[in-house]
Symmetry: C2
Subunit: 232 residues, 2 copies
């Protein structure tokens, strides 16, 4: 099943320009081929590709039920890794495993303080298409930790960290008790002690990811995997 992105109308779907390019120039799909289209907001349809020169439309043959908003929300705020490849891998895996929202964070120890958000958004969409997610997760711009805390002052925050001297609860407990969860994951070298104390003083709860020493992107993937696992 091949899923593409576009706008869905009652009778037809209009593919996004870059998707048309991909369909014609890269995949070299033929007129009349079976194709699926989503708007990324939970709507999706199946139909036939209608090619007219450089234009491509979809004749709708099947309308699927709107994907409902999940009752369980997982927002991961994570400092991007020095290696972009590792962060991209986190992005792809967490989308496949059902993350709801991602905020790339800037922390004192961040080794990466820039991101090509457009490229990331494209990778997120590709992962959605591949895994048939028709309700796309939200990707926010790179945000300094303090700004993130201000924006989320109303939310209960959870922070995964490696410091032994502060109380932590198990990830399992977090997923068992909460439905709308925001978890922060620090950079290589973790959040600074000052950052952690700031978070804790403003009501954040420390989270323990078990005894193994996990890389930043592994901590992120594991957190989303645990979320997915906990509602198998």
């Amino acid at each position: 099943m091949r899923l593409f992105i576009g706008e869905i109308f009652p009778d037809r779907a209009e593919l996004r320009a870059d998707e048309i390019h991909h369909i014609i120039k890269v995949l070299r799909m033929n007129d009349n081929e079976e194709i699926y289209v989503t708007d990324g907001k939970g709507k999706w349809v199946g139909g036939k590709l209608r090619l007219k020169g450089k234009k491509a439309e979809v004749e709708i043959l099947e309308i699927f039920p709107q994907e409902p908003l999940s009752e369980r929300i997982l927002h991961i705020a994570i400092a991007p890794t020095k290696s972009l490849e590792r962060f991209e891998f986190f992005l792809e895996k967490s989308v496949e495993l059902g993350v709801s929202e991602i905020t790339p964070l800037i922390s004192v120890n961040s080794e990466r303080k820039n991101l090509n958000l457009e490229k990331m958004q494209k990778q997120l969409e590709n992962a959605c298409k591949q895994s048939l997610r028709v309700l796309f997760p939200r990707l926010n711009p790179l945000t300094p930790l303090k700004d993130f805390m201000e924006k989320n002052a109303e939310n209960q925050l959870f922070v995964a960290h490696c410091y032994q001297e502060y109380e932590k609860i198990s990830l399992k407990k977090v997923f068992g008790n909460q439905k709308n969860i925001t978890i922060l994951i620090g950079p290589e070298g973790d959040f600074s002690k000052h950052e952690l104390e700031l978070l804790l003083s403003q009501g954040a709860t420390g989270v323990d990811l078990g005894k193994n020493r996990l890389r930043t992107e592994t901590a992120g993937i594991f957190t989303v995997a645990g979320f997915y696992y906990s509602h198998l």
Copy 2:
């Protein structure tokens, strides 16, 4: 904490030749630096680096308790992905998250039928060192599915697959009931129907990894993550 591989004697540790090269030529570590050594079989010590020309030894200052064999064993038999990078990522993540044994499988639909085992072993060791695993998981050679089944004829096998028409149990149930678990994960395009029927006819149990369509390496990482999560 920097962990290296070597042989451990009562009074000293001898680093492996490639580790000495890495310490001297790449990391340019100094005489007297703090260093940790494991034999990969559960033994590990801390001490001081003693450099003598092209030789390097470790004077032991601290002996840690032998890491006990885990009571819970997870063996993943997985068909390597077409993209080597994706398979390497699975390898690294599953080592970090505590896999016990990996067998790369050849199945009818396998897109990759060769692997540089030596390179993989090196990557496995690097992941162990990074995540401070002193009991290295075992990496087996690429094995055709039928040979794997013969070798494991005595073991209860679990097979993760995407076919809807065969009974499956949840991964959660597998981890809840068993301590010594072998899970098979098919290639892009899954096991063939014939392969699956062969497995089921010989007593394997189908496993469900939830409703998302996961890539091969994601299915592998998720399975190990679920194992790790289930005993947080």
